[in-house]
Amino acid sequence: MRPRPFLLHRPNTLKEASELLYSHEDAKPLAGGQSLIPMMKLRIYSPEEIVMIGHLPEMQPGVKQEGSTIVINSMTTHDMVHHNELISEYLPVLSEAAAAIADQQIRNRGTIGGNIAHGDPSTNLSAALLALDAKVLASGKDGQREIPIDEFFLDLFTTALEPGEIITGFKVDIPKNSRQKFMKITRSDTAFPLAFVAVNIQLSDGVVKDARIGLGVAAPTPIRATEAEEYLKNKQLNQETILKTAEMATKDLEPPGDVHASPEYRKNLLNVLMKRCLNSLLEEVKQ
């Protein structure tokens, strides 16, 4: 359980970090290490070079409000995301998703940037950020850009980041009249999750004006249930529409299977979670 040899870089600037990553094909940035280091220790992934980024001034954890936008820095830990007041108030689905990651030790180290950069369909925050229509802030050797989260996840462990690009943070516009929910099913906190769902709906007089739904462990990448979102628009939230939404969100899914959950069972769980999320939002509205 020891990693293969690697070279460790500690660059002085973000630009330097990008250049290092750009010029070394097998180099990887290290954030909280909660995905990268276990893989290295299991020797299923062995980058030849590791570039530290956590010490860089631009990368320091933090959450701030800029007008109607929340900006979350990349190195903000899951625990901070969970407990941050701005996030709890405006982006509760993200806070709930962070709270439901693994155990406290892992939440103390793991970061939102690493969670998203990993490109893994089983990362809680990816579903939440999909539901929130976040923008990924990336910094490369040629400067900064914003990548809409919808365009970020390309394939299993494959993202839209170009060689040398580092995630510096995320931008989320504060949704209006929004109700949000994250739900997850797992056999144990630190096990590979069975399924999870992140929902963000805009409601007006009980009618859904807009909906974004993120699904976890549903496909090779984190995905949205776009058909179901479309369906839900301008619908009253009730038992019938909830059932139909869940059905539409999951009917065409082909989730991965493993010893803990067959593809069919995962599909069922996503369906159940979808219903439960919407039902719990319906309850909230009623109160």
Partner: protein, 146 residues
Amino acid sequence: MKFEGSREVNTSAQAVWDFLTNPNNMAECLPDAKSHEVVDDKTIKAQLKVGVGFIKEVFDSTISYSEVTPDSKDMKIKIDAKAKANTATINIDVHVDGADSAAKLQWTVDAVMAGRLASIGQRYISKVSDKVIEQAFECMMSKLAP
């Protein structure tokens, strides 16, 4: 792990067969090959970088043709691939038939993946060999009949 695939090609079965049985054509179409060498008319040695996303391993691979039967247009391709702590033994049965400009290439695969990735990557590994083989055939056929 067993799976199968097929592809229709708008050329003759004979043309597909001739193209397929030439290892040079296969060698040019190995996905993510770091290097390759056609050893003889039935054997290719290659270093294939295979995996999902950034999780890739370099497999030292030997690809060998056997039971090449021109009459029925059947052959077997065996891939023996070995990386640190991982191995794959893949047996492919290939068959070509079909009419003049509607040839059909069919393959059935029996893959035994062993080692760490097979154990830890159970959720994803089955897709990998499937994809690699499909890519190789796809590449060859589009070269043959673009």
